[in-house]
Symmetry: C2
């Protein structure tokens, strides 16, 4: 492999895929998982980049994911719901298998859902949202995670950080995309505060007795809080209901019971809803895509930002100049390739 500090996207894909292939993943699983990891690195979204290789391998080693699983598509003809059973593998190949069927169904019916069951999920949802917007469809994606967030007014972890993501296709260039945790902060941020010896901002967490705390250690032993008070708590609960219970898959407390830890990738399901703007707007005045651009102009025109712009800027740079990696990161990739998890221990 060529040693460079700015590998192309394709070169990094090959390299990450090789690590997974050598350490137990089938070609199907390795390719799809590597694609989302490389997308994270490409977008300078380091928390979802090559840093995730280790967690992926640990989840395989713990026997909590089937690294050679073959996902199965159930077209569920005559309905608006397409289903993919990941068969205990990673969500990513299951998602890739389901998207064309989801897009076709949404174009036909105007509205359709993709349900992924029995998958191990760890990638950011924006990559999935973007795959649907590439089909000219709007997308709403959500999934539970592990019980680490107390409902507003409560004292114990119950909800997950339950990401909620949405995308709208834009004719020229990148889509409108947001993707956020329904907790105030991601769990990884608490860990970063702990390592840095810094106090948490007000309102992020409670301790094991349910009392507000600024101490990251106490927060990790307690619970995080939902964003936006009771409103975020309600959305987090909705995600447990729709993307856990309704689709017959695990809720965040059940995921934590199953794994016994928050250090492995969560096993659960996922719900993707796709909307055809053409179908919804049929017979009405105005082109929805052109009108959406006017709305975005009004947002930008008053000095506000559209979400995901930092990622898109990083992406443009990576596409032009390659992905910037430090020598230490490249060496780490080499060690992961050679030794797998032993590279870390």
């Amino acid at each position: 492999m060529m040693e460079t500090s700015t590998p192309t996207i394709a070169a990094l894909q090959e390299r990450v895929e090789a690590i997974f292939l050598r350490h137990g993943l089938s070609a199907l699983q390795a390719g799809a998982v590597a694609r989302v990891i490389v997308a994270g690195e490409r977008d300078a979204c380091k928390s979802h980049g090559i840093y995730r290789i280790e967690g992926t391998l640990r989840t395989v080693k713990a026997g909590k994911v089937n690294p050679k699983a073959v996902p199965m598509l159930d077209l569920n003809e005559g309905s608006a719901i397409v289903k993919v059973n990941a068969n205990g593998g990673f969500a990513n190949p299951a998602f890739e298998l389901g998207v064309p069927a989801l897009a076709e169904r949404a174009r036909k019916l105007g509205l359709a859902a993709l349900v992924i069951n029995d998958c191990t999920h760890f990638s950011a949802l924006w990559s999935e949202v973007e795959a649907v917007t590439k089909e000219g469809l709007a997308a709403l994606v959500m999934c539970p995670s592990y019980a680490t967030v107390a409902p507003t007014g409560g004292i114990k972890p119950l909800l997950g950080t339950n990401p909620f993501a949405f995308g709208w296709p834009r004719p020229d260039g990148v889509p409108y995309v947001f993707d956020f945790a329904t907790s105030v902060a991601a769990r990884g941020e608490l860990e970063l505060y702990r390592r840095a010896g810094k106090l948490l901002p007000q309102g992020w967490a409670i301790d094991a007795d349910g009392e507000p705390t600024n101490d990251p250690q106490a927060a990790l032993a307690g619970a995080m809080l939902p964003f936006g008070g009771h409103k975020g708590s309600a959305i987090g609960t909705m995600i447990e209901l729709l993307a856990g219970i309704m689709i017959g898959d695990l809720t965040s407390p059940e995921v934590l019971d199953y794994l016994g830890t928050t250090t492995l990738a969560p096993m659960h399901g996922e719900l993707v809803i796709a909307f055809s703007p053409e179908a919804f707007s049929a017979g009405r005045a105005g082109d929805p895509f052109a009108r959406a651009e006017m709305l975005f102009e009004s947002i930008i025109g008053q000095g506000a930002r559209l979400p995901s712009q930092r990622r898109f800027a990083a992406r443009a740079k990576a596409e032009a100049d390659g992905i910037s990696l430090t020598a230490a990161e490249l060496e780490h990739l080499d060690r992961l390739f050679e030794k797998g998890l032993e590279a870390i221990a």
Copy 2:
């Protein structure tokens, strides 16, 4: 009419309906609008109760709603989208017309949407969510309103207070329901602070120069802020896209342009999405309704509350003892019946 301080729900319905019938609404419009107003009063949700009669009449008088409109159902066979054109009337009869078709479509396809176009909307969304949960379906409902909220990082009103509501059917009794503005506060709350001569809490609003303000008067001339920072701002934007632009109806800035004021009921569209838990969970282990009850137990069991409980308690009381109204309120209803808007001037 019988003078009592606790009319039954049916008696208040008759009374409110009579006001609307006498002051220009057709029977179809009067009945449906009165039902949501009485539901608000029944649930002690005063901001959506008989207080709304005046605004309804004002919107009629201003010629911004057709008080005798006949909504038209477009079954849109072969798709997952049922449409109702309110034909410039109130949303409520259009919604009532669309719900049975929405429920049938959702049961058939697993997932379906009801689009209401060209309607004047002023009722809380919870009453609509509950109508869908009565059909055994989960529901997600949203609509734009008027441009009164600045996007995070912005300085001018652009988004509406854009309500976002969700419901999950519960086998025994009232559903799980939330319904909230995606702004920190409702616009009416700013007005209440102004009248009381009180300062606004931090983070509610900005003034006309885009600077944070605690002064309700300055806030009313400036803009409200979204709940939960950039996350709430993103959800508010999503609602403009899905329930305004995508369905070929007005966005919040367009509504404000059309009305020229925030004192009349907004004219726009509305999006209702219905999910069949049976269809989504088919072939999976566990009954989704029973599992949801376990989740609710876990929330309540740690001292947190489910949303809407205050409303449901008031409802139970109203169903048993009638709706409690002051003598002044009853007199006001009489005057509204006799004189319409002149009762206010």
